[in-house]
Amino acid sequence: MTARRAQPPLALTTVAALPDAADVVVVGGGIMGLATAYHLARLDPARRIVVLDKTYLCGGASGRNGGGVRAQWSSETNIRLMKESVRLCAEFATEMRINVWFRQGGYLFVARTESRARELAASVELQRAHGLRTRMIGPSDAKKLVPELDTRTLVAASFNPDDGVVFPWPFVWGYARACEQHGVALHTFTEVTALETDGGGKRIAAVVTNRGTIRTPLVVNATGAWSPEIARLVDIALPNHPHRHEICSTEPLKPFLRPLVADLASGLYFSQSMRGEIVGGISNENVPDGLDQRSSIDFLGLYASALVEAMPVLGAVRVLRQWAGCYDITPDGSPIVGFIDELDGFYQLCGFMGHGFMMAPIMGKLAAEHLVSGKGDPVFDKWNFRRFRTGELVHETMILG
């Protein structure tokens, strides 16, 4: 017997009429789309910008993630970009005048085998070469950092005290409000049903929604797990696909856990939120195909086993709720960004492998600069869709959850 959830009709919130033309339409009102729209509006106040989202704000991955923000990565590009994003996160509350509860308690990556420890050490060296404060530490130092951690099977760990955790929702609202203050038209509960093209299918001409059509020469695809669907509207076959990742949180406890603890071998990660809940997840390859955001029993078992093994005292602590979201997975672990050679005016900002939330502050800024000046950061070529044709794949391995 399979339980099926009936889909309720979406409430239509027509607080304003949809414009019939715009200079750019950002499809996807998650943090990636909103950050891009915000920076676009600041750089070019005359530009008419519209952001569309098919449900309420925070409905997608931007509202479902664990809020981790880290600069510990294995590739130069990610290290460079995330170093800047961490800095932007630290400024966000006072710049946007909304608390995001960014706590820089650090990330502790643990290694339980020699080979993992060596891989970590190599990443740490690269990170330090870029000016990060990450360092390798031994089991006894890891124990001092997290006394409740069972370090008996620990070989080594890496620790960057500047990595941290935010509370995701106010981030989204902060960008949304700043967008509206800068004249961006934000329309939620507005679904894109078709994209129209001109010139024999060579360039974007309009966005068709359930509330009307907007003529525009530029569409930014910032829809994350939904991005292949959007690209299919213009017969572009993006190679990314959604992959469900589950997450759960416990009852609130008094603060005791300083860093986010992560284990790349199992994909386990957990941290203590500002409200005191332990929030975390773990990798699970056995997931349904497609966009599925339902919770499973198996996840509870996998996560609970790994968590209690890592931190035995948590056995008595109770799970309060579990939920899920979809990572936007690419074949090589790197995002898909920039223009598409085959179609003018169709700009990608997707494939962020479950780490788009933390990358959005810097990526939104860079994307806006690219769109306004025509000159972009090298990532817009390095991570371009064309690499799947030319074979110049770019691998990133430090993926969590």
Binding site: T13, V15, T250, E251, S305, G315, A316, V319
Partner: protein, 93 residues
């Protein structure tokens, strides 16, 4: 001096908070839940979701067509009792 009208006891969300959320444009149930925090605490909305829905409608927000998505578990369950749930007997279909 008046006292607060608390709707969500677990998270201390007041009637004023809910009205304020609607006034700011967070007009549907799920958005108000996120903006105010109602329904995200210990009881996960058991005590307050109906009351908040009524108040949102009274404040001019959207009439809900569904409740806030009910997340398992219905009651908090210790991690020690969940460990092992993914391991299944071989003869289990």
């Amino acid at each position: 001096m008046s006292d607060k009208v608390i709707l969500c006891r677990c998270e201390d969300v007041s009637a004023h908070d809910v009205e304020e959320a609607v006034a700011r444009g967070y007009r549907d149930l799920e958005s108000v839940k996120r903006f105010t925090g109602f329904g995200t605490g210990w009881c996960q909305g058991k005590q307050c979701v109906a009351l908040c829905a009524r108040l949102i409608v009274a404040a001019g927000g959207e009439i809900p067509t569904a409740p806030i998505t009910p997340r398992p578990p219905f009651h908090p369950v210790p991690l020690a009792h969940l460990a092992g749930l993914h391991r299944r007997q071989k003869d289990e279909p």
